[in-house]
């Protein structure tokens, strides 16, 4: 993320008491602030974030752009929900706050949280938008819950007039959706933003699916070998699909994919002593598990070294077609490829073996 000064305009009008976003629109805004703190400040230490209260009797500047996250989060206890959102006044004040930022190198951005219907006319909004665009200020317009048609139209017009290149974003959070999830997915795709550990508890693979889809959902930084194998298997699958598009029906192709992933992991397992560690990795990596096949895989790995080719056709004999096996087999017949695979894996295993020994020693102590 570039060096940025972002001023967030909060909507503390009475409309934010609305519970259509769990638990209330105001709480959703607070959680969104947490997210923005990560996006802006954690990605670049010199970026700053400021706060403005757009509702209430008067539009109030709570915080000038600062990189101290505790200061920002501490402002919330000063807030009260009252009045109506004064959108254009709040945006103009945000513009002024940005104009007088201390570090002129920071790009200017206004993040507008809107949780109530906008009172201003479209013309006023368009003029405001043009002024922002001329002065090179990017806008993140986030609509919390309000789904009135006129309101959405106004927001859309405002956004279209402000948009310069790709720097501005418009996110509409529908009632019933989780604000942080929607924001995270929209913001995450546009930047190098990584989730906080706390947010990763729910379905991490679905979250990272968008970011690491070419590695089959595995973070290459955490597990490079597995990521490489997943990538290769996905590429193989893509090639195979192209070749046999007319011959097979789709549901069968989808079922074969997890099986092929398992097949490619078996050659690693056949020549190891510590299979369990590797199997756990494999299990965590595969999204769709087929228990029967896993059992067979385990049995296979317990066996002595044997040529892999006769075993593979037996494995998923329930659903697989013999044609699919041939391309796989050719790959695994190539000794160089196998040696490469196993070399990397063996090094990893040695390290883990050492680690395990150390753990055992420490346990004895």
């Amino acid at each position: 993320m570039p060096l940025e000064a972002a001023v967030v305009v909060l909507d503390n009008s009475e409309f934010s008491r609305n519970g259509d976003l769990e638990p209330s629109r105001w709480n959703a805004q607070q959680e969104a602030i947490e997210l923005y703190i990560n996006v802006v400040i954690d990605s670049n230490m010199e970026s700053g974030m400021g706060l403005i209260l757009g509702g209430g009797k008067q539009v109030r500047l709570l915080m000038t752009p600062t990189n101290d996250r505790d200061l920002i989060q501490g402002q919330f206890h000063k807030t009260r929900l009252e009045g109506n959102l004064k959108f254009s006044v709040a945006i103009q004040q945000a513009q002024l706050a940005l104009k007088h930022r201390i570090n002129k190198q920071q790009h200017q951005r206004i993040v507008a949280f809107v949780a109530s219907p906008i009172e201003e006319e479209v013309d006023t909004l368009v003029n405001l938008a043009k002024r922002l665009k001329k002065n090179n200020i990017a806008i993140d317009l986030i609509n919390f819950g309000e789904q009135n048609e006129d309101h959405l139209k106004k927001l859309k017009t405002f956004f279209d007039n402000v948009q310069k290149g790709q720097s501005s974003k418009y996110i509409n959070i529908l009632p019933g959706m989780s604000a942080t999830e929607t924001l995270f997915s929209s913001l995450g795709n546009n930047s190098d933003f990584q989730a906080e550990p706390g947010q990763e508890q729910q379905a991490p693979q679905q979250r990272t699916g968008g970011q690491f889809s070419e590695y089959g959902g595995i973070d290459p930084n955490l597990d490079p070998e597995l990521a490489m194998i997943m990538k290769m298997s996905l590429e193989e699958e893509a090639q195979r699909l192209q070749q046999q598009l007319t011959q097979q029906s789709q549901p069968q192709q989808q079922q074969q994919q997890p099986q092929q992933q398992q097949q490619q992991q078996q050659p690693q397992q056949t020549q190891q002593q510590k299979e369990k560690i590797q199997e756990e990795k494999v299990e965590n990596g595969i999204e769709e598990e087929n228990d029967e096949l896993l059992e067979q895989a385990r049995l296979l790995s317990m066996q002595e070294e044997q040529p892999e080719q006769p075993e593979q056709p037996k494995q998923p004999n329930q659903n697989a077609q013999p044609q699919d096996q041939n391309t796989q087999n050719q790959l695994f017949q190539d000794q160089d490829f196998l040696d490469e695979l196993l070399d990397d894996v063996n090094k990893d295993e040695e390290q883990e073996g050492l680690l395990k020994k150390d753990n055992d020693k420490s346990k004895k102590d």
Partner: protein, 193 residues
Amino acid sequence: MQQHQHGPNCGCAEYMFNEDADDLYGQIEIDKVDCLNETAQNIKLIIRPENHFVQSDLDSEIIVIIPFNETVRIRQINVVSLNEESAPNLMKAYINISNVDFGLIETPCVEQFVLSPNLDGQFGNAVKVSKFENVNNLILYIKSTVNDPIRISYIGLKGIRTFQSKQLANTIYELNPLAKQVDPDKVVFDSLC
């Protein structure tokens, strides 16, 4: 009647065309040149007369911010448009203003110019010399009341260098004061004691 254009032989006392003026291209901090309300990020490219142009985005007006790496005295500002249909006709110049945005145009300018298309770049707008001493930062507000959008292919500045700059003097940071005389040019780093 055509407005009087100043040149080397017009004899006007105020607008002296100063033959000593050099091209100030070397004194412009190219990386920090900025332009508000342009469609593409071309402003750095038009400081040299090459095949690029800057086009205004909304409302046929742009603001160009030109910082210098030393204090200069400006004698002449030369603005070349791309063609007649997108030529500006008005320019306001401001000096030494940080924090520029479009609210600036409501404040009084240092000098105001009427621009001609100037397609061959021959005509440079001579400035009032006394007002453009000690310039670290030049801001040009260029607009057209007639054409929309405007396209500019070159901005040239002529003037005199003063060789004075706002830079840090040569400094040495000491944790403990050193007893011996230290030559700043010879110090690479000092030991922490």
